[in-house]
């Protein structure tokens, strides 16, 4: 079954730049998909269309049966609750501990305290940070901070996890640790993962589906793809 269906999507920014041209694709539930392409090829824009940070200028973006393009601003939060998002820059709150940062996501949507505790500890365990629960982000390595961000993204057990260059600030070793965490999440929770990246090595090693963009056009969508120019 398809979790995501993108139909005839075009995205033209207000400054006149067209970042995506006539995009058509479908992504199955439970898949792990890389989005690759050169700088400015439209990877981030594609991700932003999926979590309704940007609206397409044409076409439909269907996520979990819902046309995200038609979603009113007021209702965007309903979509956000069904997906998790991870960025290159972690976006953690420095004044909150690891635990509090992850719990924050659930507090914001009104979860009960007891269930917050259970879910947060489970998520932190899944990313291998159970021993750093009471640390502050500034005392953690980049890789660890990114794992906190991933824990926060999956704490509400979303169907879909979007990652925009999650390893962009990390060395190859730490990057592979992150990839291991993501693969585990994909396998154990069945979470569909879409990850935009530059990193050839990661893509080649993981042997997942690959969407290749070039100047806003879809050039390839391969099962078990590699990073080919």
């Amino acid at each position: 079954m398809d979790l995501i269906r993108v139909k005839n999507v075009e995205k033209k920014y207000k400054n006149g730049v067209t970042a995506i041209y006539d995009l058509n694709l479908a992504i199955e539930k439970g898949s792990f998909v890389f989005v690759i392409g050169g700088s400015g090829s439209g990877k981030s824009t594609f991700i932003k269309l999926l979590y309704r940070e940007e609206k397409p200028t044409k076409g439909q973006v269907i996520v979990g049966g819902l046309d995200v393009a038609k979603l009113k601003n007021k209702k965007v939060y309903k979509l956000r609750r069904k997906l998790g998002i991870v960025f290159q820059d972690y976006r953690l709150l420095p004044k909150l501990t690891v635990y509090e940062n992850v719990a924050f996501a659930l507090e914001c949507i009104g979860e009960k305290k007891d269930s917050i505790r259970v879910k947060v500890l489970k998520a932190l365990e899944d990313v291998g940070l159970k021993n750093k629960v009471h640390e502050y982000p500034d005392n953690l390595s980049g890789g660890e901070q990114q794992r906190v961000a991933i824990a926060r993204a999956i704490v509400n057990d979303p169907k879909l996890l979007l990652c925009d260059e999650p390893t962009g600030n990390l060395d190859p070793e730490k990057s592979m640790e992150i990839m291991k965490v993501l693969e585990d999440i994909n396998k154990s929770r069945g979470t569909t993962i879409i990850m935009a990246t530059h990193d050839k090595e990661i893509v080649n090693k993981m042997k997942k589906q690959v969407i290749t963009l070039k100047d806003g056009h879809l050039v390839k969508f391969k099962q078990k793809g590699t990073y080919a120019e």
Binding site: N73, K74, Y77, L79, R81, R91, C108, K112
Partner: protein
């Protein structure tokens, strides 16, 4: 949803940011305080004015003295004319004899004085007591009655009362303008306080949006912050009104201008006034924060 938990979090966040932006918060609170003190004084004054105007209006009558040489049919004519004036609510007629008896009953002093006069010497006259519908037009009505044939003189109110009511109503208007100006300044200050909070919490707001916080959840702490500013700003005005009015009332023994004006009894008046003051404070705080949220949060 889960309103109580959400409210608890919002209040906590709001109190935190009031403390964090202490200097600007203090400026807003001070401005609200000054505004509310003036509002409180205006409210107290205006309720008191209303109260005594009503009291005066109740027994504001025109006394019409009839010429001594007026005959029966002249008096009938006067009565007909009075009846025809639109502003007249009702009237009573007393002959000089009735007036005399009434006064004699009223006090011993009057009685002895009145007894020394013969009918010719007596300054008393046949009188009409006329009640009007609209006190503001009492002067016009009195003049109309005075122009009736065989009416000697006309008295109404105290003159001073009339002027005082007018003076108070113009003071009231000036107060409204001052309060309005102060409210605008206050709202402006609150908008800037909340703007600061919003920008200090930009990152947090961004994350809240990402993880699916509803718009209300995001807005509520800021709205509550404004309301808390208003609440804090109303503390001093409430204390001042309560104790100030009590002291004022006690000092003047409940009356002003040698018992002409009766002040409103402090209880429950001061509580009602306090409630109004707190209400206005919170409302102004809410208006300020709501417009800041609309302007700077863009959701």
């Amino acid at each position: 949803m889960k309103p109580i938990r959400m409210l608890g979090r919002s209040v906590r966040d709001a109190v935190k940011s009031v403390i964090r932006n202490f200097s600007l918060s203090l400026a807003s609170i001070s401005c609200i305080t000054i505004t509310l003190i003036i509002v409180a004084v205006a409210v107290v004054a205006s309720f008191n004015v209303q109260n005594f105007t009503k009291a005066i209006e109740k027994d504001m009558t025109i006394v019409v003295f009839v010429d001594n040489d007026a005959e029966e049919k002249d008096i009938e004519n006067i009565e007909d004319e009075i009846k025809r004036i639109a502003n007249v609510e009702k009237y009573t007629f007393q002959t000089k004899q009735e007036v005399k008896e009434m006064m004699q009953q009223e006090s011993e002093v009057f009685k002895t004085v009145l007894d020394t006069w013969t009918d010719e010497e007596s300054p008393l006259k046949d009188t009409f007591q006329v009640k009007v519908k609209n006190v503001e037009k009492i002067k016009k009505t009195a003049l109309k009655i005075e122009s009736i044939d065989k009416v000697s003189t006309v008295r109404y109110g105290e003159g001073m009362v009339d002027k005082m009511v007018k003076a108070f109503s113009s003071i009231e208007k000036v107060t409204y303008i001052i309060v309005l100006g102060l409210v605008l300044v206050t709202v402006f200050l609150i908008i800037n306080t909340i703007k600061l909070t919003i920008s200090a919490r930009r990152k947090e707001i961004g994350i809240m949006r990402l993880v699916g916080a509803s718009n209300i959840t995001i807005k509520l702490p800021f709205i509550i912050e404004g309301m808390i500013l208003g609440l804090f700003g109303s503390i001093i005005p409430v204390i001042l009104t309560t104790y100030g009015y009590l002291a004022f009332y006690k000092h003047f023994d409940g009356y002003l201008y040698s018992r002409l004006i009766e002040l409103i009894v402090p209880e429950p008046f001061i509580y009602q006034t306090s409630l109004i003051v707190v209400g206005i404070g919170i409302l102004v705080g809410m208006i300020g924060s709501a417009s800041a949220v609309r302007k700077y949060l863009k959701i």
